[in-house]
């Protein structure tokens, strides 16, 4: 993924013991997901969305690791990130975490029992919707006071032109956002990929929607209920 900070590459998370995470203990996995720390206790760059994954509960993290362990190991060796100075210094990420991790944690739910709170859990944790839909400041930290209010795509095309991937929509209940979508509209769009005007989703939301299509109908309804409950914010 090409970003203003350089090119990030998605690492191998298959159970291959050499190039994947096959040698990781459960604790290693949880440290990575919650604290953004490698088994060698180095900081991960927040392109890995641990600011969101820290909001996933331990039971789900344990299930996730248990599932990943059942996948076939892949020998695919992924090249390193190619970042632009000064982001090449990993230790700087420590400072970044100190500034931003608590902010994202403030969005989490304490009790995901009701549909709205279950929706909050899915949106602010495993779904990590804010990673694209919340604008970021100059350091790449999400502006929680602009939570889900839409953003310039963080992804830029590779090459000298740096083609923008466009704007990521505002999904708050504002008229700039999806204020006129009903809960059924939201849930159906996550199931089918069609917005209420029956335009299909496009761009990177397609991959996301193909995953939300596999959620239970209750979970899609929970996301819809939660998105209707958050503060309406205008777009920039």
């Amino acid at each position: 993924m090409a970003t203003p900070f350089g090119v990030f590459r998605s690492p191998n998370i298959s159970p291959d013991p050499e190039v994947g995470i096959g040698n990781w203990s459960m604790l290693d996995f949880i440290n990575a997901m919650v604290l953004g720390l490698s088994p060698e206790l180095e900081h991960y760059y927040p392109a890995f969305p641990y600011p969101h994954y820290q909001n996933i509960n331990y039971d789900d993290l344990i299930d996730l690791k248990t599932y990943l362990d059942t996948l076939p190991p892949s020998p695919n060796q992924v090249a390193d990130h190619e970042l632009i100075f000064p982001y090449t210094f990993r230790r700087g990420v420590g400072l970044w975490k100190w500034r931003y991790l608590e902010r994202n944690k403030s969005l989490r739910t304490s009790d995901p029992k009701t549909p709205v709170e279950r929706g909050r859990y899915l949106v602010t944790g495993p779904g990590h919707c804010g990673a694209c839909h919340t604008p970021r400041d100059v350091f790449g930290g999400e502006m929680v006071d602009r939570f889900l209010a839409g953003a310039e795509s963080f992804e830029v095309g590779e090459g000298p032109e740096g083609e923008s991937e466009g704007r990521i929509p505002n999904i708050t209940p504002h008229s700039d956002g999806i204020g006129d979508w009903s809960e059924t509209d939201i849930a159906y769009s996550l199931e089918s990929g069609f917005d209420p005007d029956f335009d299909s989703f496009g761009g990177s939301m397609v991959e996301v929607q193909e995953n939300t299509a596999r959620l239970s109908a209750e979970d899609r309804a929970a996301i819809a209920a939660y998105l209707k409950s958050i503060p309406a914010r205008r777009s920039d």
Partner: protein, 160 residues
């Protein structure tokens, strides 16, 4: 100067009263871009009929469903290459905010053709099934959606 001002006022008056799609009267390839965007609206209108039934917002009607599905199939078989001239992408001068078509379309024609054939195939199944009850319609919606997303995922930028 007077004539010049008059022209400005006349233009201002015109654009204030005429509901035009574009902020300016003239953008490159306006004709082709308007045509293809209208073409997409035809799709959207007909998918909207099927979708509203699938979603439970409109009572299922076999005849209407078949008609909409057949319209979609016919549309997908229309040759519309002339609506997509080279240089009518979103990065071309004057077309920002007018079109969201990525320039990659023009460097990936074989892929575009493949996606278009996949959409036609999905619509053939839909046209055969839409009149056979709500269940049949519903079970074909996913494939039709995949047909739309086939191009919208790689080739259309986000519009917000």
């Amino acid at each position: 100067m007077k004539t010049f001002l008059l022209v400005i006022f006349a233009t201002a008056a015109l654009s204030a009263t005429t509901p035009v799609t574009f902020a300016q009267d003239e953008v490159p390839f306006q004709n082709q871009i308007e045509a293809r965007q209208s073409f997409m609206k035809i799709y959207r209108f007909n998918i909207g009929m099927l979708g509203a039934m699938a979603k439970g917002e409109l009572p299922y009607d076999a005849e209407q469903a078949s008609a909409a599905a057949n319209n979609l199939l016919a549309a997908s078989k229309m040759s519309n290459g002339a609506m997509w001239p080279a240089g009518s992408d979103m990065n071309s001068e004057g077309l920002e905010g007018v079109t969201w078509a990525k320039p990659d379309i023009w460097t990936n024609f074989p892929e575009v053709g493949e996606k278009s054939r996949a959409l036609t195939e999905a619509l053939e199944s839909m046209a055969a099934a839409a009149g056979d009850g709500l269940g049949a319609l519903r079970s074909n919606m996913g494939a039709v959606g995949d047909g739309c997303k086939g191009c919208h995922e790689p080739f259309r930028a986000s519009k917000d």
